[in-house]
C-alpha cells in the first residue's frame, strides 16, 4: 500500500477548495464530501505522481504530527476514498502529468 501511487479519479469527481478545505463531489452518485485541512492536503497531493509513503512524509513536513499518526490517518482516509471510488491506487505513476 505505501509504495502505491495515488491519483484522483478525475472522471468521477469534481472539487473546489475554499480557504484550504476541499469539497469533493462524486459525479456518479451525486454525493459530496467535505474535507478538513489535512484531508484536503492529501487530496491535493493525489495527482498520480506521489506514493502513499511520499504523501505521509509530506504530511509530517507540513503539519506537526508524528510519522505513525500521519501514516495511520493517511491510510484510513485513502481507504475511505478508494472504497468510494474517488481515488485510484496504482503501481506506476500516472502518465501525462
Amino acid at each position: 500500500m505505501l509504495d502505491k501511487y495515488v491519483a484522483k479519479n478525475n472522471r468521477k469527481t469534481a472539487y473546489r477548495t475554499i480557504n484550504g478545505e476541499a469539497v469533493v463531489v462524486n459525479l456518479k452518485d451525486s454525493t459530496f464530501h467535505t474535507l478538513n485541512p489535512v484531508a484536503t492536503f492529501i487530496w491535493e497531493q493525489a495527482d498520480g505522481q506521489f506514493t502513499v509513503k511520499q504523501i505521509v512524509e509530506r504530511i509530517c513536513q507540513e503539519f506537526e504530527v508524528d510519522r505513525d499518526t500521519a501514516e495511520r490517518d493517511c491510510l484510513e482516509f485513502l481507504d475511505v476514498l478508494t472504497n468510494r471510488d474517488l481515488v485510484v491506487l496504482s503501481q506506476a505513476p500516472a502518465e501525462g502529468n
Binding site: 472522471r11 468521477k12 469534481a14 473546489r16 475554499i18 480557504n19 478545505e21 469539497v23 463531489v25 459525479l27 451525486s30 459530496f32 467535505t34
Partner: protein, 256 residues
C-alpha cells in the same frame, strides 16, 4: 418554450397553469410536443422531482425521460422534445423543470430548492428541503415580491441574480416574472428565537449542494452545476436564519 398539443383541454389547462409566464411574441428556445394518453383527468403523480429516470443517448444531447405517468424523448441539438402523459399538469411541470435545468446551465443558471423573494429591490433565497420553512417564509412576507416558494432560478453572473418561476410548492401560487440582484442566501431554521448567523463559504456550498438537484447522471452537467454552486457560494453572503412563525424575522435581514 413552445408547447404544442392536439388536446384542447391540455392546452387550456397549460395556459391557465403558466398564465403569468406566457410570452406570445418571444422566440422559443425549445419546443415540446405533448401527446395526451388519455383524456380522462387522472390524479397528479406523486411530486417526486428528485427521482425522474433520465437516460442520455450518444453523449449529453439526446435521451429519454421517464417519471410516474410520463415518458418523453429530448434532443438538445434540435431543441425539441416529445412527451406522452396523462392529462395531469404535474407531468409537464416535471418535464419542464428537467429541460430548463439543462438549458439554464449554458446561461450560467440553475434551479434551487428554495423560496425566493424580492424586498426593497433586493433578492433573497431561502433554500431548504421539504418542511424547512420555505413556504412559511413566503407566507410571512406580505410586503415582498414572490419569485417562487419552491424552485426559483438563480443566475451566477455580475451580479448574481434571482428570477421568478412558475414552479411552486405548498403555496400553489406562481412567482412573478421578474428578477433582482441576489443580496443574500438565508437557510431557514425553525427556532423559538430569531437571529442570523453568518456561514463560511464552504458551509454555504455544502448547504447549496444539498438543495440543488443533481439528477442529471451526466458528468459534464454535474460538473457545470457544481461550479455554479461554488461561484454562488463564494460571491454571495450566506447565513442561517433562525426564525419563529412571525414576520419579524425580516428585522434580522433588513439590518444587513
Amino acid at each position: 418554450m413552445l408547447i404544442r398539443s392536439e388536446s384542447d383541454e391540455f392546452m387550456t389547462e397549460t395556459e391557465k397553469r403558466y398564465a403569468q409566464f406566457i410570452a406570445a411574441d418571444a422566440a422559443p428556445v425549445f419546443s415540446i410536443q405533448v401527446n395526451i394518453l388519455s383524456e380522462t383527468i387522472t390524479p397528479n403523480p406523486a411530486p417526486d422531482f428528485e427521482k425522474p429516470e433520465v437516460t442520455f443517448l450518444n453523449g449529453a444531447e439526446r435521451g429519454v425521460f421517464t417519471w410516474p405517468g410520463l415518458s418523453g424523448e429530448f434532443d438538445f441539438i434540435k431543441k425539441e422534445a416529445r412527451m406522452r402523459c396523462a392529462l395531469a399538469p404535474a407531468g409537464l411541470n416535471s418535464f419542464l423543470r428537467f429541460i430548463y435545468s439543462v438549458i439554464l446551465l449554458k446561461e450560467q443558471g440553475f434551479l434551487v430548492h428554495a423560496s425566493g423573494l424580492i424586498k426593497n429591490g433586493v433578492g433573497y433565497i431561502f433554500p431548504g428541503k421539504s418542511g424547512a420553512g420555505k413556504t412559511t417564509i413566503t407566507q410571512l412576507s406580505p410586503n415582498a415580491t414572490l419569485l417562487s416558494d419552491d424552485l426559483p432560478l438563480v443566475k451566477v453572473g455580475a451580479p448574481p441574480s434571482i428570477f421568478g418561476t412558475p414552479f411552486w410548492g405548498g403555496l400553489a401560487v406562481a412567482g412573478e416574472q421578474t428578477s433582482a440582484a441576489l443580496g443574500g442566501i438565508y437557510f431557514p431554521v425553525k427556532d423559538k428565537e430569531k437571529y442570523v448567523e453568518r456561514l463560511t463559504a464552504k458551509k454555504v456550498l455544502e448547504k447549496l449542494l444539498s438543495n440543488t438537484v443533481f439528477f442529471f447522471k451526466k458528468d459534464e452537467f454535474s460538473k457545470q452545476l457544481f461550479k455554479l454552486c461554488f461561484d454562488l457560494a463564494t460571491s454571495v453572503p450566506g447565513y442561517e436564519l433562525h426564525f419563529s412563525p412571525d414576520p419579524s424575522f425580516w428585522e434580522c435581514i433588513d439590518v444587513r
